[in-house]
Amino acid sequence: MDADRRAAFLKQLHDAVVDMDEEKTPRLCREALEAGIDAYTAIMQGLAAGMDTVGRLYEQKEYFVPELLLCSDAMYAGLEVLRPQVKVGEHEAAGKIIMGVVEGDIHDIGKTLVKTMFEAAGWEIFDLGKDVKLERFAQTLRETGADVVALSALMTTSMMAMPKAIAMLKAVDPKVIVLVGGAPLNAEIARQYGADGYAPDAIAAVETAGRLFTKAA
């Protein structure tokens, strides 16, 4: 396939994600595979590139959470087609991350968006869901040896679980990078709680994790 045609395919994939088109995106993914485009390339230069643009639109206050959710739906619909075609072991994940909403909190919309952005950035994700018992974060860290743990809380009450969770995680692996986020948190509280980083939104979470991970490496 010539470079122009390949670029046009990838641009269409990018646009379908940005346009929140959950039907068109998997169809284009199938067409891309049939046309001989490598699945991993279609993910990273099509779907993930689309989510990068979506992140910028969010930062510019063009897109808000409803738009992010629909773009995310489109991306996942595409991933379902492409992922089984990626050759196992051929591409290394950007890093391993455990994420979840802490015990006592069922608000998971922020964590869902964080997951999408890490997915787009090529991380291996262990999503523990919402209202996660603190011991489960530590147990999953023991089992997976993840590089980063991202804790989310929306309530001032539930964020009080974070210092305990962070202490438990650091006891398992002092080098693990712990990020916190959620509406009541800020950088100062993150510091008080012993977190390595704070991110005000899903886009910043990926950037912060990437920066801290590179620094630690």
Partner: protein, 357 residues
């Protein structure tokens, strides 16, 4: 509690504020449902399920910290998920501070077709809220009726992520839920007016799902604003004059829309989070009483000195707002807030809140 320099009782202070006159000092209030019961050695769940205990704890806490009776309630009078048949459980454990929805009544379009308006005498925790309201009435206090905005209630019926997706893909389903939500609010509000009289009822609303942390002003204009207009038409028809609005979270992009529509009677109490600057709020809403906006996370995790400094800055900004000002947390007072941090708000009012006699 009567501060040594007080020249007015709480009732006189609030009356002056609503009459557009300067009170003796900046009033102080808090949305403090779970904090009250924890403060009195009870559980957060008891704030929601034991109206008598909740009311007594509220009265003691109000006296302890020198709060004025604004706003005073124990959780929402009406709820979306619970009232419409979903599953809700009481808060439990170390880290829960509010009711927890475990199952939403609407998951599909067909679920909406099956929804019926709840019976205001039996649904959710309305009967318990009515018992709490009777205690307020017996003590000569305003009878608070607390609902979410129709937009926020509709999202609570369907679950927020589903509802937000529908704003983009199935707007007609959102409209159905919004219509049911506002009808439910007014069915119950009608019961309150019949029971206590419109003059005694203080309608209070919060709108967290309209926050720009979630939705654009486009969505607010399309789905939320028409129901704010309808709400205030119906509130006026019922004869309820007192209204408070907790404009929850980051809503700076919505302020011009709300200021232009401004459907409430004046003065109403407009409560802001720390995300909205009080001078900005005063510029948008010069005829209304501002309430806020101390950051709850600082009240919970900061030092008393930090809370005191925030309060001083807020008083200096808000004290001369043309419509008046009440100091308080920018959202619900965290249930586990250290008592000294809560007292720091009282002390700041005592030190900086006085108006010239």
């Amino acid at each position: 509690m009567h501060l040594p320099q007080d020249r007015m009782t709480s009732q006189e202070r609030m009356a002056a504020l609503f009459a557009g006159r300067r009170p003796d000092r900046v009033p102080l209030g808090a949305m403090s449902t779970g904090f009250n019961t924890r403060n009195a050695g009870h559980t957060v769940a008891e704030a929601y399920e034991d109206p008598e205990k909740s009311f007594a704890d509220m009265q003691w806490t109000t006296e302890q910290y020198g709060w004025d009776p604004i706003p005073q309630y124990a959780g929402h009078t009406v709820l979306g998920a619970w009232d419409f048949g979903g599953q809700v459980r009481m808060p439990r454990g170390e880290y829960e501070g509010a009711l927890v929805v475990t199952d939403y009544p609407v998951k599909t379009e067909a679920d909406i077709e099956r929804l019926r308006l709840p019976d205001p005498r039996t649904a959710g925790r309305i009967p318990l809220a009515l018992r709490f309201a009777r205690l307020q009435a017996e003590q000569g206090l305003p009878v608070y009726f607390f609902s979410r905005s129709p937009f926020t209630m509709a999202a609570n019926i369907a679950g927020i992520d589903r509802f937000l997706r529908w704003t983009m893909k199935r707007p007609e389903l959102c409209e159905q839920l919004l219509a049911l939500s506002i009808d439910h609010i007014f069915n119950v509000l009608g019961l309150w007016v019949d029971t206590f009289g419109a003059e005694r009822v203080f309608a209070w609303m919060s709108s967290p799902t309209e926050s720009n942390q979630l939705v654009s002003p486009r969505i607010v204009k399309k789905f939320a604003l028409p129901y704010h207009l309808a709400y205030h038409r119906r509130l006026a028809d019922l004869g309820v004059r007192r209204f408070g609005f907790h404009i929850c979270g980051e809503q700076n992009l919505n302020l011009p829309l709300l200021a232009e529509a401004c459907p409430w009677s004046h003065p109403s109490v407009l409560s802001f989070g720390h995300e909205v600057d009080l001078e900005t709020a005063a510029a948008h809403f010069p005829k209304d009483i501002l309430f806020g906006n101390i950051e709850p996370a600082v009240i919970q995790t900061g030092t008393p000195e930090a809370v005191y400094a925030l309060c001083r800055a807020a008083i200096e900004k808000g004290k001369n707002a043309p419509g008046g000002f009440i100091l308080g947390p920018g959202c619900g007072l965290p249930v586990g807030a250290p008592p000294v941090n809560v007292y720091a708000m009282t002390r700041a009012v005592h030190d900086f809140g006085w108006y010239a006699a």
